[in-house]
């Protein structure tokens, strides 16, 4: 009951300064919204990317020449298959295509036609020359649908017509938005890539624990190659979506700094009115502990309200409305950026860290100056103010 009464007094005290309280609450909530949104979005994208891309090749071998990626001879497959522990080596054929008509870049990906059908494809995979499957972004930019024709200009500047046999469903946008998929043979013809060369080689190994050892053996067998393991690939995405790094933090660090200045301003001194209030409370019989409890409740009441409503707004913004504000920053100059529909993976550890880093400094900045005023003589406090 005593705590409830102190909370009642703390709320009354906050409501006596409605303008100041409202301003702090709005800034505090906005800062939590921004930080929690970045946290929710990056955590969701990172977890989703890691889970999905774990299905990709265990090892990709690129050839490098003069420090740059080069096409790799398909004959190297024989050398790699002989390395103990290697299960299978498949040449990959893929490349880029700039569509001057729509000003967009497509990724053209070849695949093995013996592959089974895909559940995320509306229609079927292309089987022969003159057929392709496309991502929703390509279909949208070219305004084409299933069984329509897609005209692309090949390496020899000749227009080639492909019938769209499949369009990837929107659930797969984050993987297929800009993809144009066709069998390897026709893609080689389109790029003018000889049969003896491939973009890179995908290596599967029997024991996933041996990937690093096999990568070392490949590097020794082909000194001009660059083996990229799946763990390196996933680490790249961890670095990309690492919420601590990059532009998002640079943008939001200014908001964080503004809040720190606000907290610092509060911590360095109380207003004359607040000091007088503490003096009067002590004069009418409140002890130092009660005054500190009052100030703790004041800070906690504001912090809890700001933190909970900030997290709630951030959650709805990211997972309900598809991160309309952050999506714009993430999008950059990408023309075919897919609509963000992140799966809500929430990391409670990060949320706890956010709570600790925002609530504790604010409450401390409320209590510490009050403690300084509360330990001095009430008469002195009232006379000084």
């Amino acid at each position: 009951m005593r705590y409830l009464k102190i909370l009642e007094y703390a709320l009354a005290s906050l409501l006596r300064r409605p303008g100041k309280t409202c301003a702090i609450l709005v800034v505090y909530t906005l800062m939590i919204v921004v930080l929690a949104s970045v946290l929710f979005l990056t955590q969701a994208l990172k977890t989703e990317a890691t889970a999905m891309l774990a299905g990709g090749p265990q090892l990709v071998v690129q050839k490098t020449m003069a420090g740059r990626h080069e096409l790799i001879p398909v004959a190297e497959v024989e050398r790699l298959v002989d390395i103990p522990g290697v299960k299978e080596v498949k040449p990959r054929v893929w490349g880029y295509y700039y569509d001057a008509l729509t000003g967009t870049n497509y990724t053209l990906q070849g695949f093995d036609t013996s592959a089974s059908e895909l559940s995320l494809l509306d229609g079927r995979l292309p089987r022969e020359e003159g057929e392709c499957a496309i991502g929703a972004g390509v279909a949208g930019s070219r305004l084409i649908h299933l069984q329509d024709d897609l005209i692309l200009i090949d390496y020899d500047n000749i227009g080639r017509i492909f019938t769209v046999t499949g369009v990837f469903v929107s659930k797969a946008d984050v993987l297929t938005q800009d993809l144009v998929v066709m069998p390897e043979g026709p893609l080689r013809q389109f790029f003018g890539m000889p049969e003896s060369l491939a973009t890179d080689l995908a290596v599967e190994v029997y024991n996933p624990n041996e990937v690093d050892t096999i990568a070392n053996k490949i590097k020794r067998a082909l000194p001009d190659s660059r083996p990229i393991t799946q763990s390196e690939l996933l680490r790249t995405y961890h670095a990309v979506f690492d919420w601590r790094g990059g532009m998002m933090l640079a943008l939001f660090s200014s908001a964080l700094m503004a809040f720190c200045i606000l907290a610092w301003d509060k911590a360095t001194g109380l207003s004359a009115g607040e000091r007088r209030e503490i003096g009067i409370l002590k004069a009418v019989g409140w002890d130092t502990g009660d005054v500190l409890l009052l100030k703790l409740w004041e800070g906690l009441a504001l912090s809890l309200l700001a933190f909970l409503s900030g997290c709630l707004i951030a959650f709805l913004l990211v997972f309900w409305w598809g991160a309309p504000l952050l999506g714009g920053i993430l999008r950059g100059w990408s023309v075919l950026f897919p609509a963000l529909r992140p799966t809500p993976f929430i990391d409670f550890y990060q949320l706890g860290t956010l709570a600790f880093l925002t609530i504790v400094p604010y409450v401390a900045s409320t209590v510490i100056p009050a403690w300084r005023a509360a330990v001095t003589d009430p008469d002195e406090v009232m006379r000084a103010s």
């Binding site: 977890t47 089974s116 659930k171 993987l175 959650f315 950059g332």
Partner: protein, 108 residues
């Protein structure tokens, strides 16, 4: 006591809403892992994909994991990148699992 009771009710309401949404998030992510993920992994496996189709403006933003090691920061490691997406990527330095120190034998 009306203010404190109203405030506590509001906090409980916000906590309940957040707990409800968190429960929904747990359910949705579990459903994604059980139903949605196998189909996406099949797609990644069949097409042998290595990267997300998020940033299509440059080779090194479309396939960050496949790009030349120096591509994302072509001008200078600390220079501003040409593309906004490039600014989202932090340069990943070498992280060797083992290191070898080789020294010349001292002349007798």
């Amino acid at each position: 006591m009306i203010r404190s009771r109203t405030y506590l009710c509001l906090i409980i309401l916000l906590l309940a809403a957040l707990a409800g949404l968190t429960g929904w998030a747990q359910k949705t992510s579990a459903a994604f892992l059980a139903d949605g993920l196998p189909a996406r992994r099949q797609l990644v496996s069949v097409l042998s994909l290595t990267d997300l189709a998020l940033w299509t403006e440059a080779r090194y933003t479309r396939h960050p994991s496949m790009a030349d090691l120096f591509s994302p920061f072509q001008d200078h490691p600390a220079a501003f990148d040409h593309f906004p997406a490039g600014s989202l990527m932090t340069p990943v330095g070498p992280r060797p699992t083992t290191t070898l120190h080789i020294r010349r034998l001292a002349q007798p």
